[in-house]
């Protein structure tokens, strides 16, 4: 298979934000399901270009937080500002269109499709050829397909999953599925990438690989990343800032070192200081 693409092309942002500016901001956001308060009155922000970790015990509301950010849950209270614009009820596909991509805690790949198609599916928003060209599959439609295929091949190379290109993802072992899912999110060339426990179920070596991918995406493509992870080693090593949740509330926010020594955080989550 082609090895022509050696170099991973950089994605250049055009949203006018400089690295370090606040990209996404949550103010006093609350979300409850019946009696269950998943998120209570949380405020925090994500800055452009950073790796932001979200940690906390099980059921603390981390996943719910990501769901709020990309419009799958609608908070009862609070304001979400993305790139300076306050967002009202936003549908998930609108969030996707505005440049937010994510991976899921329970792998949510398209089970009936191959790895290649899964990653191609990340390009959906970027493809525009209309129905009639698609029917004919000549000229523009085919060129478009190939152009995006090149992009996808870059990602495949980058994630080192060439060998499973044509395998239906349902048959892949768990760890590779997670990797494909990352690839699918990357294919969207998002400005903000939300990762929900990308390293769960991986062994050390694979976690190292994954960390490397995340760091590379962050530094080479300039993608802002929010990441939920339970492996403190990883979180402390690769993230720029960490926010800690417990029972839907924020109990800590700061650099890894600050968080590590925060007594509330140690009591609620870490158990022992790392």
């Amino acid at each position: 298979m082609s090895n022509r693409i050696k170099h991973v092309e950089l994605h250049v942002d055009d949203d006018g934000l400089a690295p370090g500016d606040v990209m996404l901001k949550l103010d006093n956001v609350s979300l409850a399901f019946g009696g269950v308060k998943a998120i209570t009155d949380i405020s925090f922000d994500i800055r452009k270009g950073e790796i932001r970790a979200i940690i906390g015990p099980n059921g603390a509301g981390k996943t719910s937080m990501l769901n709020v950010i990309n419009g799958f849950y609608h908070p009862q209270k609070g304001v979400i500002t993305f790139r300076g614009q306050a967002r009202s009820r936003m549908q998930p596909y609108e969030a996707a269109a505005s440049g937010i991509a994510r991976t899921f805690q329970n792998v949510a790949l398209f089970k009936g499709m191959s790895t290649l198609d899964n990653i191609m599916s990340g390009r959906t928003l970027k493809m525009h050829r209309n129905f009639f060209w698609q029917v004919l599959h000549v000229g523009p439609a085919r060129n478009e397909e190939i152009e995006h295929r090149l992009k996808v091949e870059e990602i495949i190379d980058f994630l080192e999953i060439q060998h499973i290109r044509k395998t239906p993802v349902g048959k892949l072992p768990y760890g590779l599925q997670k990797r494909v899912e990352l690839g699918r999110a990357l294919a969207m060339e998002p400005d903000l990438l939300l990762l929900d426990e990308p390293m769960a179920g991986m062994n050390l070596e694979e976690k190292e690989d994954m960390s490397r991918f995340i760091l590379d995406v962050n530094s080479q493509m300039g993608t802002t990343i929010a990441l939920i992870e339970h492996d403190m080693g990883v979180v402390m090593d690769i993230s720029d800032r960490v926010v800690v949740l417990d029972y839907g509330r924020k109990i800590g926010d700061g650099t890894p070192d600050e968080v590590k020594t925060n007594q509330d955080v140690i009591d609620a989550y870490l158990g022992v200081s790392h």
Partner: protein, 317 residues
């Protein structure tokens, strides 16, 4: 136009109250019978997540076996017992040769296998018993026949068939017993677990084989009851199979997993379509009964996508 849609039907209802009562009663009876068919579907769906397309044909098959045995000279009650036995065997065979090899397959595949089963039973049933409609042995089974008429107001008449009353009573008892059995017992919980995830159910030691044999048998008994009751209304023949489709809107309205839902859904559909056909049908040329039930169900669904009593469709990432 508006008058004939919104006012006239009600005027008609008020003018002939005895007739309205009769319509409601007929709707009620039809609803009970729909509910009986739906009940068979619910049992199996609840226990395996399988939409048992063959339920309709099982109704015919059970009825035919009963009547067929009787025609061959077996006394009615013995025939009843033997038929129950046959339904038991059928349950075992289905479990062994259809369900067991298809464990953990997607719903639609299981649905398809029951369609295969339908073909098989149609062929087999006609092969053994022939295709002629047979008369249900209502009297021989000691079921009431005849009817009572009640005077209502001046000159109004309400006619109740005894067999219909019996059908309603039996259906209600059946629903009650099954509802208790499936909601209050260990097996009941296991059933719901199986419907959620075959593999996980296996992994906690739930015996799918046993459970499926039990529910298919239960569904067979329900089918037999349905067969007797429908058969008493018309005849036992393969044309009945088509009526089983009516169970679909009933099911959907009640929710696929709810036993009481089946009866409530049945009644809403039964009464709704009778009222619709009698009072509104003439506006568009009649015969709307063939789709009204589905439209009623559709409208309900738009408000409650899981039916009235169905389990919420879980959406979470």
């Amino acid at each position: 136009m508006l008058y004939s849609v919104f006012i006239d039907p009600f005027v008609q209802m008020a003018e002939m109250p005895d007739f309205l009562l009769q319509v409601l009663w007929e709707g009620f009876v039809a609803g009970v019978l729909y509910a009986l068919i739906a009940l068979g579907f619910v049992l199996i769906y609840k226990a395996s997540g399988v939409f048992n397309f063959a339920q309709g044909i099982m109704v015919v098959f059970a009825g035919l076996t009963l009547v067929g045995l009787h025609e061959k000279g077996v006394p009615a009650y013995l025939a009843l017992v033997l038929t129950i036995g046959v339904m038991g065997l059928l349950a075992l065979a289905v479990e062994r040769f259809v369900m067991r090899p298809l464990v953990n397959q997607p719903d639609i595949i299981l649905l398809m296998s029951t369609i295969g089963l339908t073909y098989f039973l149609v062929g087999f049933g006609e092969f053994v018993f022939g295709g002629e409609p047979k008369q249900m042995i209502t009297q021989e089974l000691g079921l009431p026949t005849g009817s009572s008429a009640f005077e209502i107001g001046d000159g109004g008449l309400l006619i109740l068939q005894h067999i219909d009353i019996a059908a309603a009573v039996i259906a209600l008892i059946m629903v009650g017993v099954l509802a208790v059995f499936f909601n209050k017992t260990r097996i009941g919980r296991a059933l719901r677990a199986v419907a959620d995830d075959h593999q996980a159910a296996l992994s906690v030691g739930i015996s799918l084989n046993q459970i499926w044999a039990i529910v298919w048998f239960a569904a067979g008994i329900v089918a037999l009851t349905t067969g007797i009751m429908w058969g008493a209304r018309s005849d036992v023949s393969f044309a009945l199979e088509i009526i089983a489709f009516k169970a679909l809107p009933v099911l959907i309205l009640g929710g696929f997993t709810s036993i009481p839902g089946a009866i409530v859904g049945g009644l809403i559909i039964g009464v709704g379509e009778k009222l619709g056909e009698i009072y509104w049908g003439p506006l568009v040329g009649g015969g709307i009964e063939s789709w009204l039930a589905y439209m009623i169900a559709l409208i309900f669904l738009l408000f409650r996508p899981q039916g009235l009593f169905g389990e919420r469709i879980i959406e979470r990432v």
